[in-house]
Amino acid sequence: MPKRSPAEQLDQAISALLTSGPAVSKTGLIPSVARLMPIAQALRNLPRPDFKGSLKSDLQRRISMSESAAPSRGPVKFKDFRRPNFPNIAPYFLVPGAPKFIDFLISAFEGTERIRVPRPDGAIMHAEVAIGNSVIELGDANEQYPQRSMTTHLYVPDADASYARAIRAGATGVYAPTDDHPSGDRWGEAKDPFGNTWYIATRRSQVSGAEGFLTVQPYLHLRDAHNMIPFAESALGAKATGIHKSPDGLVMHATIEIAGATFEIDEAQGKVQPGAAYLHVYVPDTDAVYAQAIRAGAIGVTPPSNAPYGDRAAAIKDPFGNIWFLATYLSSGQQ
């Protein structure tokens, strides 16, 4: 039997360490390999560089929000209404065959599954997949919440590579990324096997500002989109930025911010028909926002209550048919 090199012996020991945990025996290892094992063991807890960066951005965003909201400098008080490590707005996909949708998100967009809560029948009650610095939530569609085809805007480092990966993962190309998109960004479009549309873009214009650089932004095509702006402002405490209108007053594009995270809207026209989405948003006070939303024309779907996972949660349907899952994170002393 050929003698294994130290590099091979080390790799075999690392494989055992990664699969079996720290209790890997050093017996039989040559000294030059055995002495490296404490280092290998310590590296098991090496953090993801992406996570370190995204948490830092999250904290910075929070600091800047707090400073811009503060009338004068003084002791800073933050209200922890958001679930930690969660963007403020997440699209919530309800699809038949949610496990396959998770597989698609992982292979198409290099997603990372964070949470999967199964139902007794094997269907998925709730799952979360992190993509870049954002999170997509999903579950199996059901009678109360049937499937909806949704549109999502992804900002990725390399739109061409992400588009190609999405096609390999089963998406259908609508058009490959091009520099000719009116936004000025490199932009392509694909449809996934579940009927959802994905705008896959890489920023060319380094416009920061309210919309920030979140990887995932829900994109709503609406009939009479201009009416969404006053609704979102009065019901959800949102702020519209970058509103571009056509000469006849139609909203060609607007970005709407709620506590640091954003969604986009435009007027549905031509081949782009209006659709309704499911959205999950963290707000400072679910009860107050629920009441405000109903005053602003929304319909109450589920009144506020304390959810077992630690949120004060409610649901409303806006005048465009979108369902908003409202939440306030309670685990910061507000329970």
């Binding site: 590099a7 494989s15 310590a42 590296l43 807890n45 910075q60």
Partner: protein, 192 residues
């Protein structure tokens, strides 16, 4: 056995923690410096106590958000700032276990998350060791760093890494070996 160091305003990295904390208490935008200094230590503290990376990340996020929100309450009383962060981390671990128990009817005994003084000294030393090691990973040659991250963070196989780097499996194993040799020699006589 970990030797308990006296609480010192100057951290092992030579940075004056007290100045950094006071700067951030006066201007939250300066919290960045504290985050950079303590991220690895808090992450290690938590990741060595939970089973999966996602939970470690959620809890790390929670700790820094709470630290930022409550920074004005921190007072220098001869306790290192890291110990204050570990106290928050310890409470977050306990809360997380309670949440998991409610959601999944966990039947096993909860982990002991009580933070004792003697534990803190050991935790400080161990977490500083890991923090130093993680900083050295950042300074490895790019290809070695990539191999280490893909192997240990993403837990890819040598075959997968070889395909992604367009190198032979033997070459990737050599890179891995050299990277660990470099880290070991740079860590010198440090022991966790």
């Amino acid at each position: 056995m970990a030797v308990r160091r006296p609480a010192n305003e100057r951290s092992s990295t030579g940075v004056d923690e007290r100045l950094l904390v006071e700067a951030a208490q006066g201007d939250p935008a300066k919290f960045d410096a504290l985050y950079e200094l303590f991220f690895d230590r808090v992450y290690y503290y938590l990741s060595s106590r939970v089973r999966d990376r996602a939970t470690a990340e959620d809890l790390t996020s929670e700790v820094f958000h709470k630290a930022l929100a409550n920074l004005s309450q921190f007072e220098w009383r001869g306790v290192p700032f890291a110990a204050w962060l570990f106290r928050i981390a310890s409470n977050s671990l306990a809360d997380q276990y309670k949440r998991a128990s409610r959601e999944h009817s966990v039947s096993e005994d909860p982990p002991d998350t009580t933070l004792r003084v003697e534990d803190t000294a050991g935790d400080l030393e161990t977490s500083e060791y890991h923090s130093s090691l993680y900083r050295l990973v950042d300074r490895l040659p790019a290809v070695q760093r990539r191999v280490i991250r893909e192997r240990f963070v993403e837990q890819r196989t040598i075959r997968e890494i070889a395909a992604r780097l367009k190198k032979s499996e033997g070459a990737v194993k050599q890179l891995q070996f050299r990277a660990l040799e470099t880290l070991r020699s740079q860590m010198g006589g440090s022991h966790a």
